[in-house]
Point group: C2
DNA sequence: TTGTGTGAAACGATTCACAGCT
DNA sequence: AGCTGTGAATCGTTTCACACAA
């Protein structure tokens, strides 16, 4: 999961729970697919299946938006598409800049999913002068020097950071100073930003680590108390030693092998 | 946030809460940085700041792993790095395949964050025969025909899907049939998989939509009851009309403009 | 004295189960 | 008869606040 930064504490009585907001895009996608197949109505059961959630949750989610269904019938697809779009703010145009046009930045620039939903890539920005002017996704890459100007002239309020970790904090500061108030961060760093700025983080390696945790559990279960552990990385074995100097220490729940991971 | 699929219901008394698991990689990264600067110990306060969480949460999280700190002092960095790595299963080697070598797949293949943490890209797989043999990230792309063989020969249990949406479900079925039990899905589709298989989803456009929601709120607040809405997309205006046929209907909490979004 | 470890309280999200509308 | 909308019960997560160990 991408980790969100603290939001306004949902004081406003009309507040939609954060967990619900995070699912609206999911419903929207399922509804859009139905709409394309010209399906006029769906039941909460059907739509929930398409979105991969259970129907009680979906109905509760929709209840925060208002009463958009018809008892005994279901939801009108087109109407619901519009209501959710409006709630998410997708009925307006969001110009976005992508900073850091490496492999990932280029992938993002080419990603069709943005353009199709109210987002418009207003500019691609990179710090490498050699990149300047080169076309990526049919658009010339611009140099970081012009970042502030680009943000202001295009009225950009959402920035995407796809730079190396080292540059991310500084880039975020420049974006924010120029007027950006929402950031999607792909760099593996914790950004520190002023209040009022939203940051969401997408971290590829964190997702894999979470999978590894569950994967490890499965392996451990399949073979009860058996050995079953896969090959240990060379680095982990090589770099043994390090352990706190102090004396008695409760062992971890699963043994206490001294070693250190690569990094 | 990436959306996780249902996991085993944490019955096992020794179960670590899912929310905690999701933060361990964050702590690990912060600790690794400290380790590189040869910092010997950290307090929960310092580490929490570095990881972007509050210290009570961090201490509670660590308490699920065991008692690895020293009262009055803090945590031993190296020791904690090892304990968390072990808990996450990163002391073993995880071969991973990436299926779908487009822009995003190539970006993932080149992403250094994998290799550095127990993950090894075992193979790159693509359905396009023209890609076969081409080197990406120093590795020849292999054809989908050999998918099963590759999975088996390398003992791969984690697969990354970076194909177009249309191909994702079928790819996931082949991966699973060949022995994969964890999938990281970048395609914008809900995968349906058998019990026992973990799926995590990363969806770029969903993250942006969540940001747009909050961004919209900010705009609405700044200008009280003023107009303040940005330019409406041409498509949204063009495609008015559609609305459920039925009569009386409670209006949504925020008006009831008839229109439909692009898609 | 300092900072961990943890019960207990507060909060938020999910699920249940059914009243009520169509 | 069928399916939504929603209070109430449940479950998981976060925060509080302080006893206790170094």
């Amino acid at each position: 999961m991408a980790t969100g930064r603290t939001h306004r504490p949902a004081t406003r009585s009309r507040g939609i729970p954060e967990a619900t907001v995070a699912r609206l895009p999911l419903y929207l996608r399922a509804l859009t697919a139905l709409s394309e197949r010209s399906v006029p109505t769906v039941s909460s059961e059907e739509l929930a299946a398409a979105a991969g959630v259970n129907s009680a949750k979906l109905r509760k989610d929709f209840s925060y938006l208002g009463s958009y269904g018809t008892r005994g019938v279901g939801y009108d697809v087109e109407y619901l598409v519009y209501q959710i779009s409006r709630e998410l703010g997708l009925t307006q145009d969001w110009p976005v800049v992508i900073v850091g046009i490496g492999n990932l930045g280029a992938a993002l620039a080419n990603y069709g999913g943005f353009a199709s939903r109210g987002f418009r890539v207003a500019a691609l920005i990179d710090a490498d002068p050699a990149m300047a002017g080169k076309p990526v996704a049919g658009m010339p890459v611009q140099h970081t020097d012009d970042l502030e100007k680009i943000i202001r002239e295009n009225g950009v309020s959402i920035g995407v950071i796809a730079t190396p970790a080292g540059a991310a904090q500084q880039v975020s500061e420049r974006l924010i100073a120029a007027g950006v108030t929402s950031i999607l961060n792909f760099a593996p760093t914790v950004l520190s930003v002023p209040d009022g700025v939203d940051v969401r983080k997408v971290d590829l390696s964190i997702e894999l680590q979470i999978l590894a945790f569950h994967e490890q559990r499965k392996a451990g279960e399949d073979s009860a108390a058996a050995p079953a552990v896969g090959a240990v990385t060379a680095a982990a074995v090589a770099d043994a030693a390090a352990r706190p100097a102090s004396g008695a220490r409760k062992p971890g729940p699963e043994g206490d092998v001294p070693a250190v991971m690569p990094a």
